[in-house]
């Protein structure tokens, strides 16, 4: 019999604690596969977030530093400046990256910091039990937006990747949906491109993975995928948002 799938080399032999249908498990696997295929897993240093992926280092088999909520990009900056040849990435949720860590994220991009951010957007605070995130859609319910998000009351949802893409130091910003195998394949390609961008020293790279939180959306895993396709994908359309070549400074 032909073996079509096995555990990626850079995932430890540990069972995920994530809920059934959660996108984090899939994104972990994609990143680990990319490490193996690109041969960069031995050089990788990750920063884990506060959020459902707080235990990412229990799964990834590479060096890791646990971050404080939102500070991933700053910590990754310190690591990268120490080891410019390492492949440094920060793994963050939407609460982490788009709320408490907005400044750290935007300014790491503005510095053109040569790091990669894996950004899992599930439109909600998973770990703390379903509170509103900056990315929560209009009309979407959260425990702290019990009537559904209404812009005049809870403000507009924030497309942070789009914002970051506008910044000159951002070499690569892309978005993918964690829904069907086809979309997931695209996601993997974009993750690979982001790391490639870091290997080429082109600057800041970010990949947003629009992903399900069935538990806090209070939907089944399948209904969650439908929710992404029908709602999340409209607010956060997939594709490459920006791709910049070598920074001006490097060309001279």
């Amino acid at each position: 019999m032909q073996k079509v799938y096995s555990r990626p080399k850079y995932l430890k032999d540990a069972a995920f604690h994530y809920c059934p249908g959660c996108g984090h498990s899939i994104v972990h696997r994609l990143v680990a596969e990319v490490f193996e295929e690109m041969g960069i897993g031995e050089r990788a240093i990750g920063v884990a977030p506060a959020g459902c992926a707080v235990l990412a280092y229990n799964y990834f088999d590479c060096d890791f530093v646990e971050g404080a909520h939102g500070r991933g990009a700053a910590i990754a900056t310190g690591i990268k400046r120490r080891w410019p040849d390492a492949v440094v990435f920060s793994y963050q949720g939407d609460g982490d990256l788009a709320a408490i860590g907005t400044a750290e994220t935007i300014h790491a991009a503005a510095r053109g910091e040569n790091i990669t951010i894996i950004f899992v957007n599930n439109g909600i605070y998973g770990m703390t039990g379903g509170q509103m995130a900056p990315t929560t859609l209009r009309g979407m319910k959260a425990t702290t937006a019990p009537f559904g998000r209404e812009p005049r009351r809870e403000g507009y949802n924030l497309d942070i990747t789009h914002l970051v893409a506008e910044i000159e130091g951002t070499a690569f910003a892309a978005r993918a949906l964690i829904t069907t195998p086809k979309e997931i394949k695209k996601a993997k390609k974009l993750i690979a491109s982001a790391f490639e961008c870091q290997l080429q020293g082109r600057g800041f790279s970010i990949v947003e993975l629009v992903s399900a939180c069935p538990t806090n959306w209070k939907l089944s895993p399948l209904a969650s995928i439908k929710f992404i396709e029908e709602n999340m994908a409209k607010a956060y359309p997939p594709g490459v948002l920006v791709e910049r070549r070598l920074p001006e400074a490097a060309k001279e």
Binding site: E42, R43, A44, I45, V47, A48, V54, L55, Y57, F60, D61, C62, D63, F64, V65, E66, G67, A68, R71, A74, I75, A76, T77, G78, I79, K80, R81, R82, W83, D85, A86, V87, A103, E104, I106, H107, R111
Partner: protein
């Protein structure tokens, strides 16, 4: 050299190659100096977007094995507290300079010692301690900064230098410590490096979900703090031998106190100074020892009375403890303080 610059140059000589900071008066000389100096020695200087970002850049560089530093002043230190807690929990070395200004809130930029509680009590969340060094002149700004990198590495803990605006901006001659070779520093077997297939992956963390494991981690930290308390207490005595009255003061206040003591000694008052150099660990034993002979303690601080709590604890009721302080960012002259001392002394001992 200016105090702030002496501190910055000493850091470079101690092997600091990663400096991250955010401007705030009265310590702007430090980031400005480092912006020039770091590239010269092959190091990294980043002006962070905030004090929070800067302390986490320090955490990243330190987790990756580099000697890293940040500096700030009171409101900025408030922002760094979260990161200090993480550095302590992750057991990572780092040097943090606080060139204190008057407070609370924005306060003013004059030298002050109003952050004593904040510096010595940890400030951030959790059961942790931090070595706090209080230089008393520009030479010590250099020497204690130099020392702080070794202490931080030895105990894998953040170390704070608590100076003040006056100390940071005073100019004095300095003998600078020698430049160490960064390559000669011992390898850090806990640092993340990208493992290059040679070893198991390393993780630096402070999240410990299993209650008994967290308890053990906390006891381990406490054992480390006990060790530091046993080994790293530093203080200076001045005219202490026959003192009937002891002034306890640190940093700039101690300098003023020395001037005052010289004056009152001329009048025959038996007054001495005990100057804590480490604010944590606090020289409690030295104060207890002094309390065996001296019967009156005057704690002099450039705040409304913070260190006095530590002095009281150390004296344990064996002598009277009084306070004189100026919390506005202003400081008395040695002459002013001499008057205060004389008044107290005459009440307690004998009229002159």
């Amino acid at each position: 050299m200016r105090g702030n610059n002496a501190m910055a140059e000493a850091a470079v000589r101690a092997g600091c190659r990663y400096y991250f900071g955010y401007p705030i008066t009265p310590q702007n000389d430090v980031p400005e100096y480092m912006a020039e100096r770091m590239p010269e020695v092959g190091g990294t200087f980043i002006q962070g977007e905030s004090e929070i970002a800067s302390i986490y850049m320090v955490l990243g560089a330190s987790a990756a094995g580099g000697r890293a530093m940040t500096s700030s002043s009171s409101p900025g230190i408030s922002l760094k507290q979260e990161g200090l807690s993480f550095l302590a929990g992750h057991e990572l070395p780092a040097v943090i300079a606080n060139v204190v200004r008057g407070g609370p809130g924005l306060g003013n930029i004059a030298g002050s010692q109003s952050d004593y509680f904040q510096c010595t009590r940890g400030g951030g969340h959790g059961d942790y301690r931090m070595i706090v060094l209080a230089p008393g002149n520009v030479q010590e700004m250099a020497d204690l900064t130099y020392l702080s990198f070794d202490l931080a590495d030895k105990y894998r803990t953040p170390v704070m230098i608590m100076a003040d605006g006056m100390m940071g901006n005073t100019m004095e001659p300095v003998t600078l410590p020698p430049m160490i070779k960064v390559e000669d520093l011992p390898e850090k077997d806990y640092a993340v490096t990208g493992r290059l297939g040679k070893r198991k992956s390393r993780v630096r963390l402070s999240l410990i979900l299993e209650p008994k494991d967290l308890e053990e981690h906390n006891w381990k930290l406490q054992r480390k703090y006990s060790l530091i308390s046993a080994n790293e207490v530093r203080w200076e005595g001045f005219e202490l031998e026959d003192a009937e009255m002891v002034i306890v003061a640190f940093g700039t206040a101690a300098r003023i106190a020395k001037g005052a003591i010289r004056r009152v000694r001329k009048e025959g008052l038996k007054v001495g100074l005990l100057r804590p150099i480490t604010l944590w660990p606090f020289p409690s034993a030295a104060i207890a020892e002094a309390a065996k002979t001296a019967k009156d303690f005057l704690v002099f601080e450039l705040n409304a009375g913070q260190m006095i709590e530590d002095v009281r604890l150390a004296v344990e009721g064996k002598a009277s403890v009084h306070f004189y302080g100026r919390p506005g960012g202003t400081s008395p002259t040695p002459r002013d303080l001499a008057k205060v001392i004389t008044n107290r002394y005459c009440q307690h001992f004998r009229p002159i």
